[in-house]
């Protein structure tokens, strides 16, 4: 869809017929353009401010105009951030994200396959359960989760963050997988079954390869969510050894007090992994965020 759209203007410039058809949208839209530009400024000024502040010295920060380019840009703030143990927090966030996403995708794939291919009423009820799960506010469940995690002896461990993160990512993942797998023609399943393939073989050889776009979409979407999650690490961990990035940002406020340039360096670093994911998986991420429209 996106591919076609981005190529469309170019072809329409060459071929006369589509240009005529597109005529209405080629009219200059002044109010739209100006409004879009204003919003662009609103979006970009804070981001620009974060970037240049992270390159300032503290003296510059108090002296210069907030939006002026730094007189002597330096990466010292990034060093400060790493001295505060940022690498450790980075690693923790990475472990939590990869583990939670892998767990979510694996169990959701099995569940969605069963829901789509099984005609038993229980499978349908399971789908309704997951659908209802979308409406559960995480905050409502956080105290009992804290209770359970403590009772399980998992408090202040990375596992404590992984399990509920995966649990709350399951509903949306199962639902996206289901809508995707429904489009796989039933004949494919039947012919594999006729060839004598068992459940696992069908899953591995048919469902997994065909679901790749959905897996990528949900992995990126859940990945960004888990990476940015704040509540679970806040409530379920305590020591610096298990701290994840968003929590580290918050605690930096106390440790750095007025060293705003270092804080902004930390903000930039914390955004790098989601940004990288976005750069490489933009189509997939956007498709994931808008999946299901027009059905």
């Amino acid at each position: 869809m996106t591919v076609v759209d981005e190529a469309a203007p170019r072809t329409s410039e060459r071929a006369p017929a589509p240009t005529g058809r597109r005529a209405p949208s080629w009219r200059v839209n002044w109010p739209g353009g100006v409004g879009a530009l204003v919003w662009l400024v609103v979006v970009l000024v804070p981001i620009y401010w974060v970037l240049i502040t992270s390159l300032r010295t503290q003296q510059d920060f108090f002296g210069d105009h907030p939006l002026a380019l730094p007189a002597e840009p330096s990466l010292d703030n990034y060093l400060v951030v790493f001295e505060l143990g940022f690498a450790r927090y980075f690693l923790n966030s990475g472990i939590v994200t990869v583990a939670a996403v892998a767990l979510t995708v694996f169990v959701s794939l099995l569940a969605a396959y069963t829901i789509v291919r099984s005609s038993r009423p229980l499978a349908r009820r399971a789908f309704s359960l997951f659908l209802l799960g979308l409406a559960i506010p995480v905050q409502s469940a956080i105290i009992p989760i804290f209770y359970m995690i403590t009772k399980l002896g998992l408090y202040d461990s990375l596992t404590a963050v992984v399990l509920p993160s995966a649990a709350f990512a399951i509903p949306i993942t199962v639902i996206i997988f289901c809508s995707f797998m429904r489009d796989i023609p039933g004949e494919l399943f039947e012919s594999m079954r006729l060839d004598g393939a068992g459940e696992w073989r069908i899953l591995w050889r048919l469902v997994l390869p065909l679901s790749k776009p959905a897996i990528l979409t949900t992995a990126i979407y859940n990945g960004v969510n888990v990476w940015n999650n704040f509540l679970f690490p806040l409530v379920l961990t305590q020591s610096p050894g298990t701290r994840t990035l968003p929590l580290a940002l918050w605690t930096f406020q106390g440790e750095l007090t007025i060293n705003v340039p270092a804080m902004m360096a930390a903000v930039v670093l914390s955004a790098l992994p989601p940004l990288t994911l976005y750069v490489f998986g933009r189509r997939q991420l956007v498709a994931g965020l808008t999946a299901g429209f027009g059905k």
């Binding site: 981005e6 203007p9 058809r21 209405p24 949208s25 009219r27 409004g35 879009a36 662009l40 609103v42 979006v43 970009l44 000024v45 401010w49 907030p66 767990l103 694996f106 099995l110 099984s118 038993r120 229980l122 499978a123 359960l129 997951f130 409406a135 559960i136 506010p137 905050q139 409502s140 469940a141 956080i142 105290i143 009992p144 804290f146 359970m148 509920p164 199962v174 639902i175 079954r193 006729l194 459940e199 990476w227 940015n228 999650n229 704040f230 509540l231 918050w250 406020q253 705003v260 804080m263 903000v267 914390s270 940004l275 976005y278 956007v286 808008t290 999946a291 299901g292 429209f293 027009g294």
Partner: protein, 305 residues
């Protein structure tokens, strides 16, 4: 040849009554989800009937916490604030993202570039957004401090009269990109022929927007609104980092009230009662909105959550 053929016949025979894959494949997802999402939701109701400081053993107290929560004026204050944030978020985010989405759906290359830039706030964590705006609006050395005296140099987050409005705007900054994306995708699903026919009848851009784009985006508007309303009811991390509920109680929205009562004042029982209230409002809201918009539609629409 005969062995596979026999296997097929056997499978065919056993597969029919089973009608599809073993339900055991559902177990891992269901177990994880029920254990860490459904059971805790019910557990909150259980814990709301106890007194618990987070460390020892919860002690049964019956409906004491509920009486407390009901008679505490702070509860009603936080519920009112939460509703204000919900309404405010809808009023700010919906028209803005609708217009931006419609604009970006126009096929030009420059708009694709703008669309990429719009996306950036969505990639930042709430903690990062909170930290950024807190410093950006700092009355002493933030961006607003350099503005000439007047409304712009106001300490937006420090003044109880403006703190909540500032929070609503910052939440919008974070989430308008998501909704813009939904509307952009929605507009791209509208058949071009509708516009062609309207253009041939001499309809202006504004008329086309009103009589084609808006009605065609009905379901997108509903989906996006559900996400805005439910999302802003349960918004927590950004406000926690930005204001911690202050100044005073000016931004103490319901989820924040629950967290502060439970994990700071260590009244877990009372906090559980607040959590239950939050869950009830959230579930009622989702149910009402999905019922209102047609449940079967929502099934396919909420996938974009």
């Amino acid at each position: 040849m005969s062995a596979p053929a026999q296997a097929v016949r056997e499978r065919g025979r056993t597969a029919l009554p089973h009608a599809g894959p073993s339900l055991w494949l559902l177990a891992p997802a269901a177990l994880l989800f029920v254990t860490f999402a459904v059971v805790p939701l019910l557990g909150a109701i259980g814990l709301s009937l106890t007194s618990w400081n987070g460390l020892g053993v919860p002690a049964w107290t019956g409906f004491d916490n509920w009486r407390d929560v009901y008679s505490d004026p702070v509860t009603w204050h936080t519920i009112r604030l939460s509703l204000l944030v919900m309404v405010g978020s809808w009023v700010v985010q919906t028209p803005l993202s609708l217009l931006l989405g419609v604009y970006l759906a126009g096929g030009r290359r420059s708009r694709a570039v703008v669309g990429v830039a719009y996306f950036l706030p969505l990639l930042l964590s709430s903690a990062a957004v909170g930290l950024t705006w807190k410093n950006l609006l700092d009355p002493n050395f933030g961006l607003t401090s350099t503005a000439p005296a007047g409304p712009l140099s106001h300490a937006w987050l420090g003044d109880p009269r403006t703190a909540l409005a500032a929070v609503v705007v910052i939440v919008a900054w974070h989430f308008v990109p998501l909704h813009t994306l939904l509307y952009q995708a929605g507009v791209r699903q509208i058949p071009r022929s509708l516009y062609e026919a309207a253009a041939m009848d001499g309809a202006s851009t504004l008329q086309q927007f009103r009589s084609i784009t808006l009605p065609q985006l009905k379901y997108t508007i509903v989906t996006s609104s559900v996400l805005v309303l439910v999302g802003s009811l349960t918004y927590f991390d950004l406000v926690f980092v930005l204001t911690g509920g202050g100044p005073g109680d000016a931004t103490r929205i319901l989820p924040l009230h629950m967290y502060l009562t439970g994990f700071q004042a260590t009244e877990m029982g009372k906090a559980s009662a607040i959590a239950a209230v939050l869950a009830v409002i959230g579930l009622l809201l989702s149910l009402a909105l999905t019922r209102f918009s047609g449940f079967s539609r929502m099934q396919s629409q909420q996938e974009g959550l």
